[in-house]
Symmetry: C2
Subunit: 316 residues, 2 copies
């Protein structure tokens, strides 16, 4: 039995949308909550909506000059401003000042960030590492309370590697990635699901703040280990598309030799890795600019210790 983790009560939560300006569930919900934030109200903490990238949101583009969700690096956050740098670099520092600074006592206790993907990812809960106990408990609560969503946990970076996403500004952070939804479209079903996810997470925090000890558990997560690029022609254009048998099969095992791509002249190109993998973000619109066809993960089991809130006592 591992020892219980005790954390300070959660006082400040931010719910961000429009970090990518064309992912419409978060954009729509945050705009709604900026007019009427009733749905975010709980007894034990304050939750505020954050429209993360207003300029990209207004234009309904992923970003204006640079992907905001790659701008939360130490390098950017703690360097001084210069005039000609991209809008998102400035915006990342601004968000860090208000909702961080990262690593400081003043940082928000939890930041949720609402995303959509064009991939068949269903309900994906994204965290930055397998050591993030609060986040894993929140994810497990969601998995238990919204079993119909079949939520999966994706760990976007290996322990120790650099963080760069918006939630990393807070003491804890989770991104919700819902799909498939085309860029620029608001699907009613996905909007409703996103609302339920946020509700469930806020409910969890509310319970945790009341010093209930939450038991240990084991859970499967998909740990990012790399990515696979599209085959390119000599002139740099995509020469093969994701094979129809792989399309929409996010989280399913892909064995070496299985079809991965279909060339424009109808030849099957197999996956050539040495080990079976679990591809995710298969054929994401936003990754074409980097020629990324899918993200490679391994499925691992994580043991998560019990968690409780100190309810005012000092944290471990």
């Amino acid at each position: 039995m591992s020892e219980a983790i005790s954390i300070n009560p959660i006082k400040l939560v931010a719910v961000a949308g429009g970090t990518h300006g064309n992912e419409m569930s978060g954009v729509t919900l945050v705009r709604h909550w900026l007019r009427d934030s009733t749905e975010l109200v709980r007894e034990t903490f304050t939750a505020v909506p954050l429209l993360a990238n207003p300029k990209a949101t207004e234009k309904c583009m992923r970003y204006y000059e640079k992907d905001l969700n790659r701008c939360f690096t130490m390098d950017i956050l703690f360097s001084s401003e210069s005039e000609d740098e991209p809008y998102e670099v400035k915006r990342a520092r601004e968000i860090n000042r208000v909702f961080g600074p990262r690593g400081s006592l003043n940082a928000y206790d939890l930041i949720l960030d609402l995303h959509n993907t064009t991939c068949n990812m269903g309900v994906c809960l994204i965290i930055s590492g397998t050591h993030k106990h609060l986040e894993l408990h929140a994810c497990h609560y969601i998995q238990t309370h919204l079993p119909n969503f079949n939520p999966q946990i994706y760990v976007y970076t290996e322990h120790g590697s650099e963080l760069y996403d918006l939630p990393s500004v807070g003491k804890a952070g989770i991104s919700f990635e819902l799909g498939p939804q085309p860029q620029g479209v608001i699907r009613g079903d996905i909007l409703q699901n996103m609302k339920k996810l946020v509700k469930s997470t806020l409910d969890f925090i509310n319970q945790l703040n009341q010093a209930i000890e939450i038991p240990a558990f084991q859970v499967d997560v998909f740990q990012r280990v790399g990515h696979v690029q599209f085959p390119l022609s000599p002139d740099g254009e995509i020469s093969a598309v994701v094979h129809p048998s792989l399309q929409d099969k996010d989280y399913s095992i892909l064995h070496p030799g299985d079809p991965a791509f279909l060339s424009l002249d109808n030849k099957i190109i197999p996956y050539t890795g040495e080990q079976p993998i679990y591809p995710v973000f298969i054929n994401e619109a936003a990754y074409y600019e980097k020629n990324i066809a899918f993200i490679v993960t391994k499925k691992i089991q994580v043991s998560v210790p019990p968690l409780s809130s100190t309810k005012g006592k000092s944290a471990l």
Copy 2:
């Protein structure tokens, strides 16, 4: 029995893609055919690929300054150039010079234009009027030869109203609209279907050119009669989304009183028209800029007379 329509043999066909630069089936196929056009070769006519909007395609955007597929009006096509006009206005005239001029003997005999939609439109064949016999015969051939695609015919304008799309530059024209596919994504299955549609159409033209008389038939088409906009808040933002029960139900009947929208505070907003309608293009990403939630059609039956090629004899 209506009298057979006799037309001149088809000599010149253009297959356009990238009229909207982020609709990737056409972009990908036309780029492929520009390198190797073997798939377009038939004995009785010449077919050429056309990358319609190179600037938008390069940026993977619908358009660069103005929607190219609304630029083929008489006003634009036959006015003189001025320096500060949008890129697409110039490009429309250029395409009209090479593949038209519209209404002239020099115009291409047939222009196919390859599109994608984010809506659940399946395989949609778009023509400009119920009097377009060659197009209706081509559509019927496709429906007969590719029954698994369950292709539907959509008439985008009422007889006599102004044309504005790229295919209108040719003597005849059809747009293929395949979905659902997110903007900026190439789905392998939809790419394969688009290829089969083009193949089937070229095969039909090849048969027609051999003076085979094609019998009369009756067919259902969806005739555009209007559109419905999203409910807006006083500040002009969308205040309700397409109701989940209407989402993805393109071509299905919608009765007055049926749920049409769901407001952000969870109220059902019914369809308030006086007659049942057949909505299409439900929740298309590209129509958000005009706040269009869906297109309204009525379903009508069209009687199409027999068709044959004069094989060199003069046309009616």
